[in-house]
Amino acid sequence: MAELDDIIHQPLRLKIMAALNALPATAGLEFSRLKKLTGATDGNLGAHIETLAKAGYVSVEKAFVGKKPQTTVTATAAGRGAFARHVATLQEIIAGKQG
C-alpha cells in the first residue's frame, strides 16, 4: 500500500512541487515567481526549498543577472517521481482504497 510522502505532504512544499512539476522537465522557476505563486514569505519559502533540496527533490541554482542575484529552483527526476507517487496516493485515498 502506497504511503504519503512526508516531505511533500506539508502544504507549502506540496505547492512548490506542484508548481515545478507543471513545467517542462528542465525548466525551473525563479524564487520571486515561486514566492508570488505560492503566496509564501521569503524566509518560509527558502526554508521549505532547502528541505526539498536536502531530500533531492529540487535543485537550486544561484546566478547573477546583471548585479542582481537570481535563484532558480527546478524539480529533479527524483522529485517528479515522488510527486507523481504522492498524487497517486491522494487519488487512492479519495477512491477509498486507503485512509
Binding site: A18, A27, L90, G96
Partner: protein
C-alpha cells in the same frame, strides 16, 4: 494518514497552483509579444506622423517583424511555453487569416483612408486580445478594451496629430500592458 476530504483539498490545491503556473507562463509569453509589437507599432506610427509618404513601408515592416518575432519566440525558446509545438504553425495561420480578413475589409469591401486604417487595425487587433482574455485572463481584456477606447477617442476627437496619439496609445499601451502582465 489523512481522510478523503483532506486528500481532495490537497488535490484542489495542486490544481489551483498548476492553473496559476500556466497563466503565469502565458502572461510571460504574452508580455514579450506585447512589448515587441508595442515598440514596432510606436515606431511605425511615428513614421506615419513624421513622414506619411513612407507609412506603407513602415506598416509592412511592422507586420513582417511582428509575426516573425512571435515565430522566433516559438523557435528559439519552445520548451518554456505552456502549449505544444503545433502552436507555431497555428500561430502563423491565425495571423494569415487575420491579415487576409483585414485586407478584405479595408481594401476590397471598403476603401479606407489613412485615418480609418489607423483606427481599424488597432481595434481589430484588440478585439482578438479582448476575446482571448475571456479564456486566458483579465489582463488581456483590460488591455484590449483600454486601447480600443482610447483609439476610438482619438479617431473622433484628435485631429492632425492622430498618428502621434496612436503611437502613444497603441504602441505605448502595448508596452505598458506587456510590462504590467509581467508583474501580475
Amino acid at each position: 494518514m489523512i481522510d478523503s476530504r483532506q486528500a481532495s483539498a490537497a488535490l484542489a490545491d495542486i490544481d489551483d497552483i498548476v492553473q496559476r503556473v500556466k497563466q503565469s507562463q502565458l502572461y510571460e509569453l504574452a508580455s514579450l509579444a506585447a512589448v515587441w509589437w508595442g515598440v514596432l507599432v510606436f515606431a511605425a506610427n511615428l513614421v506615419t506622423w513624421l513622414w506619411p509618404i513612407y507609412a506603407v513601408y513602415a506598416w509592412v515592416a511592422v507586420d513582417v517583424l511582428g509575426v516573425g518575432g512571435l515565430i522566433a519566440l516559438r523557435v528559439f525558446d519552445p520548451k518554456s511555453h505552456p502549449f505544444g509545438a503545433g502552436v507555431g504553425i497555428r500561430l502563423f495561420l491565425i495571423f494569415a487569416l487575420f491579415f487576409a480578413f483585414g485586407y478584405l475589409v479595408t481594401n476590397v469591401v471598403g476603401h479606407f483612408g489613412p485615418r480609418q486604417l489607423g483606427t481599424f487595425w488597432p481595434i481589430y487587433f484588440m478585439l482578438f486580445y479582448t476575446l482571448a482574455g475571456l479564456w486566458f485572463g483579465y489582463a488581456f481584456v483590460a488591455i484590449g478594451l483600454g486601447i480600443t477606447a482610447l483609439t476610438l477617442f482619438g479617431f473622433f476627437y484628435i485631429g492632425e496629430a492622430f498618428p502621434l496619439w496612436m503611437a502613444f496609445v497603441n504602441g505605448g499601451g502595448l508596452i505598458l500592458g506587456g510590462l504590467w502582465m509581467r508583474r501580475i
